[in-house]
C-alpha cells in the first residue's frame, strides 16, 4: 500500500493533547509518523495530500447507525451507508442488529464484515442481545464477539424483562462487551407516534411519555447497581428526556459504568418540528419538549453525555410518504452530525472544538473499546478526517450519499466542510472541488 502524507494541516487530537501544525504520514493502514511541518523523515515517495489551512483530526466514530443490510437494501446498503459515513467524516460506524434477519448469529456478523459488502469505512457490527431481538433468550456473546461484534443491543426494542436484562449485563460483562439499551417501556407506548404533551393532544396523536424512557433507564441502573461486582457497562442509547439524563448523572456520581449518547435531532429539535405531521420528524424516541431539548444541550456542555451518535435510520421515500401514525420511525444523520454539532454546539453554544470532536470520535471509540481509533499516534489506525471547521454550507438531502432522504435537516446551514475522509490509509471520501 502506498504511503500518504497529510501535510501542513492543523492537527487536533484531544486524547494525545495535540493542537498545532503537524505532518502525518500514513502507511499500511497505520499512522507511521507525526512530525513538525516539513520535518518528516520517512515521507520519501509518499503521495502528498495538502491540508494547508485545514484541520486534521481522528476520523469520527458513530456508535449508533442502521445500515439495513442484510435484508433491507432498498433503504440503505453497507456500501451506501458507509459512503454516507465517509462524506460525514466518519471512519467507524457501529451497526445495529435490527436487520432482516436479525444479527443474532455469527453468520450474519461475518456476512456484514465481508469485503463483498463494499464498505468504505470500518463497520463494527453490534450483536443482538437476544435471539431474534425478542427479549427472551440470550445469544452466545462469546461467539458473537469472536466473529467481530463490538457490543450487544436489541436496539429498536428494549430488553424489558428484569431477569433477561440482568442476565444480559452479566454475560456481556463476562466477555467484555457493553450493553446498549434502547430505553422505552413499550407497554406504555403502544400506538403512540410522538412525544406525549399538548402538541400530541392538539394533533390527535397518541403520545409517548417521558416515563416510558426514564423508567427503563432507572430500572437498568438499579440492575447495574445490584451487579456492581460484575463491572457491567450499561450504555443508554439516544437519550431524549431530562429525567433519563438525571438518572445517568446520578449513576455516574455513584461510580457506576453507565454512559449515554445523544443524537443531534434531540439536542436541536422539539416536538414543534413535527409541524403538520412531517414524517421526517418522526423517530423513536420522539422529538421532545423544549425543556427536554435544553436538558440535552446542558448535559452535553457539562460533560454527562459521552457521545454524539446519529441513530442514522434510513427509510425509502415511499415508506415515509404515508399517514404519520403508520410511518416508520427514524431519520438519516451521518452526513449532518458534524455540520450540526459545529454549527450549534461549537459556534452557538461555545463548546470548544476539541470537545465536540472528542464527543464524535475519541469518546465513543473508548466506550466501545475500539483499540487504535479515536486518536492519532504512531501505530494507531490511519483513520483521519481533514476538514475546514469554519466553512458554512447548505445541506441538500437529494445530493447525499445515503440511499435515503428522510431527514428534517434538508436545507439547513451546516458548519465544517469535510475535505477528505481517510479510512485505514485509504481515501474514502473526497469533497468535490468547488
Amino acid at each position: 500500500m502506498t504511503a500518504l502524507l497529510v501535510r501542513g494541516g492543523h492537527l487536533i487530537d484531544p486524547v494525545a493533547g495535540v493542537d498545532g501544525l503537524k505532518d502525518i504520514l500514513l502507511r499500511d493502514g497505520r499512522v507511521a509518523e507525526i512530525s513538525a511541518p516539513g520535518k518528516s523523515k520517512l515521507a520519501n515517495g509518499a503521495e502528498v495530500l495538502d491540508a494547508t489551512g485545514l484541520t486534521v483530526t481522528p476520523g469520527l466514530v458513530d456508535m449508533h447507525v442502521h445500515l439495513r443490510e442484510p435484508g433491507q437494501g432498498h433503504k440503505e446498503s453497507i456500501a451506501t451507508g458507509t459512503a454516507a459515513a465517509a462524506a460525514g467524516g466518519f471512519t467507524s460506524v457501529a451497526a445495529m442488529p435490527n436487520t432482516v434477519p436479525v444479527n443474532d448469529s455469527t453468520e450474519v456478523t461475518r456476512w456484514m464484515l465481508s469485503p463483498d459488502r463494499g464498505a468504505v469505512v470500518r463497520v463494527f457490527p453490534i450483536a443482538a442481545a437476544t435471539r431474534g431481538m425478542k427479549g427472551e433468550t440470550l445469544n452466545d456473546f462469546a461467539a458473537m464477539k469472536s466473529a467481530g461484534a463490538i457490543a450487544v443491543s436489541d436496539d429498536g426494542k428494549p430488553i424489558l424483562k428484569d431477569s433477561v436484562m440482568r442476565e444480559t449485563l452479566v454475560s456481556a460483562s463476562r466477555v467484555g462487551l457493553s450493553v446498549i439499551q434502547h430505553a422505552e417501556d413499550t407497554r406504555m407506548t403502544a400506538g403512540a407516534s410522538m412525544n406525549a404533551g399538548p402538541m400530541a393532544f392538539k394533533l390527535g396523536l397518541r403520545g409517548m411519555s417521558n416515563e416510558a424512557e426514564s423508567s427503563i433507564v432507572e430500572r437498568d441502573i438499579r440492575l447495574v447497581t445490584e451487579l456492581r461486582d460484575a463491572r457491567s457497562h450499561l450504555h443508554v442509547a439516544h437519550v431524549s428526556t431530562a429525567a433519563a439524563i438525571t438518572a445517568v448523572r446520578q449513576a455516574r456520581r455513584n461510580g457506576l459504568r453507565v454512559t449515554c449518547e445523544v443524537a443531534p435531532h434531540h439536542f436541536l429539535l422539539t416536538e414543534e418540528h413535527v409541524g403538520m405531521y412531517n414524517t421526517n420528524a418522526k423517530m423513536c424516541p420522539p422529538l421532545r419538549s423544549a425543556a427536554d431539548r435544553d436538558a440535552m444541550i446542558e448535559a452535553i456542555l457539562d460533560g454527562v453525555v459521552d457521545a454524539i451518535a446519529t441513530d442514522h435510520a434510513p427509510h425509502a421515500v415511499h415508506e415515509k410518504e404515508i399517514e404519520f401514525e403508520r410511518a416508520p420511525n427514524g431519520i438519516i444523520g451521518l452526513e449532518t452530525a458534524l455540520g450540526l454539532s459545529l454549527r450549534w454546539l461549537h459556534k452557538e453554544w461555545k463548546l470548544p472544538l476539541g470537545r465536540v470532536l472528542s464527543l464524535l470520535s475519541a469518546q465513543p471509540a473508548a466506550l466501545l473499546g475500539m483499540k487504535g481509533r479515536g486518536s492519532l499516534t504512531v501505530g494507531s489506525f490511519a483513520d483521519v478526517l481533514v476538514f475546514d471547521p469554519k466553512a458554512e454550507w447548505t445541506y441538500r438531502a437529494a445530493e447525499g450519499k445515503s440511499k435515503s432522504r428522510n431527514t428534517p435537516f434538508d436545507g439547513w446551514t451546516m458548519q465544517g466542510k469535510v475535505h477528505w475522509t481517510i479510512s485505514e490509509g485509504r481515501i474514502a471520501y473526497v469533497a468535490r472541488r468547488s
Binding site: 393532544f201 392538539k202 390527535g204 457539562d302 410518504e321 399517514e323
Partner: protein, 347 residues
C-alpha cells in the same frame, strides 16, 4: 464568553439557548381546502355562513347549475352516515357528479396507499376530494401529494371542521338568530360545555379551536382518562371542569359526546360510574340548565351519554345539527371548487 463547566450545579447556569426555529407550515397548499378549522379567519367563517344561507334558500334547479357536472370524490376510510350523506347531498345539490370510494370496496383493500388512491382519483378527473380517515393528519398528506382542494371530513382523533361549522350554525340560529357575519364578540358571554370522551374526539378539538374565536367560553368536562389535564393548554378560552353539574350550571350550550369504544385502545371505562357522573338526563337538565341548548354530533347512544327524553326534548338541537350539515357542506364544497388557486393561502 460563557463558561461551560459548572459541574457542581449544572442547572444553576442557564445559557441562553437560541434554538433553530420551527419550520413554518406550508399548508394548506390550496386555498379551497378545508383541513383545519383553525385555517378559517372570521371573514372566512362569515363567508361560509352567508353562502350556506343563500344556497339553502336558492331554487334547487338554479343551485344545481353552480357546480354542474364538476367532479368530486368522497374518499371514506371509516364508516359514516351523517357526514357522508350530507356531503353527498351537498355536492349533488350544487350539480356536481360525486363518486364514493370506501375502503371496503376498492383497491385500498389490496394495499394501495393513500397517495396512490388520491393520484388515481385526480387522474379520473376529481377536482376535489372529501376525505374521512382513521389516521390523524391524513388530509395533510393527501393535499401534499395531490395538490387538490381537500375537505377534511374527520381525521382520526384530530379534527372535524365541517362538524364544528354546523355546530356553530346551530348555536347561532338558536342564540343569535339572523346573524351571519361573525366577530370576536359574537358569542361573548356564552359558555359551551363539551362533555365526555374529549381525548378521542375530533369534534371536540375542532370546536375548542373555533368557539373561543367568537368569544365563547369552552368548558371541557369528563373523567381524567378521557380528558387529560393538558387539554386546557391547547388554546385560549378553554378550561377543564371535572364536575359535570358545576359545569352544566354555567352553560348555555351543552355538547354531549359518545364514548368512542373503537378508539379506547385498551382503556377501561366503568360505564355505570360514567353514567352516574356524566350522563345528561332530564332531571339534571331541568334542575341545572333548563334553557340550555343540547347538542350531539352523533351517533348518539341513548341511555349512555344522554337519555331519550333529553335527545327528543324541546331543547335538543341534534336533528337541527344534522339538517345544518347540508347547507354548511354546500358552502364548503362551493368554496373548494370556486376558490381559484391564485387567491392565495389561508382563507
Amino acid at each position: 464568553m460563557l463558561r461551560c463547566r459548572t459541574r457542581m450545579n449544572p442547572t444553576a447556569v442557564r445559557r441562553p439557548i437560541h434554538p433553530p426555529p420551527a419550520v413554518a407550515s406550508p399548508f394548506p397548499f390550496h386555498p379551497g381546502s378545508l383541513l383545519s378549522i383553525g385555517d378559517l379567519s372570521l371573514d372566512g367563517l362569515s363567508h361560509i355562513f352567508n353562502r350556506a344561507n343563500v344556497l339553502e334558500s336558492m331554487n334547487p334547479l338554479e343551485r344545481a347549475r353552480i357546480l354542474a357536472k364538476r367532479r368530486i370524490a368522497l374518499l371514506f376510510y371509516e364508516s359514516s352516515t351523517r357526514t357522508r350523506t350530507s356531503f353527498e347531498l351537498a355536492a349533488k345539490g350544487l350539480g356536481a357528479d360525486t363518486t364514493l370510494v370506501s375502503s371496503l370496496s376498492s383497491s385500498i383493500e389490496k394495499g394501495e396507499s393513500l397517495k396512490d388512491t388520491g393520484l388515481t382519483l385526480r387522474a379520473l378527473g376529481a377536482e376535489a376530494i372529501i376525505l374521512r380517515h382513521a389516521s390523524s393528519g391524513a388530509p395533510w398528506l393527501l393535499e401534499a401529494e395531490t395538490r387538490l382542494p381537500i375537505l377534511n371530513a374527520g381525521d382520526g382523533m384530530h379534527e372535524h371542521p365541517t362538524q364544528a361549522l354546523l355546530d356553530l350554525r346551530t348555536i347561532l340560529q338558536d342564540m343569535r338568530p339572523g346573524v351571519e357575519t361573525v366577530t370576536a364578540e359574537t358569542l361573548a358571554g356564552v359558555t359551551v360545555t363539551v362533555v365526555g370522551d374529549i381525548l378521542h374526539s375530533r369534534v371536540a378539538r375542532s370546536n375548542m379551536m373555533l368557539l373561543p374565536k367568537l368569544g365563547a367560553r369552552v368548558i371541557l368536562c369528563g373523567p381524567r382518562e378521557l380528558l387529560p389535564e393538558m387539554a386546557a393548554e391547547t388554546g385560549p378560552g378553554v378550561t377543564v371542569e371535572r364536575n359535570f353539574e358545576a359545569a352544566l350550571k354555567q352553560s348555555q350550550v351543552v355538547m354531549m359526546l359518545r364514548i368512542q369504544a373503537e378508539r379506547l385502545a385498551g382503556l377501561q371505562v366503568d360505564l355505570d360510574d360514567y353514567k352516574v357522573r356524566y350522563q345528561l338526563n332530564g332531571e339534571r337538565l331541568a334542575r341545572l340548565a333548563p334553557e340550555a341548548l343540547v347538542l350531539h354530533p352523533g351517533p348518539i347512544i341513548r341511555g349512555l351519554e344522554l337519555t331519550a327524553d333529553v335527545a327528543d326534548g324541546p331543547r335538543s338541537g341534534i336533528l337541527q345539527q344534522v339538517h345544518n350539515g347540508v347547507a354548511i357542506r354546500m358552502a364548503v364544497v362551493e368554496r373548494a371548487l370556486l376558490t381559484a388557486r391564485n387567491e392565495g393561502g389561508r382563507a
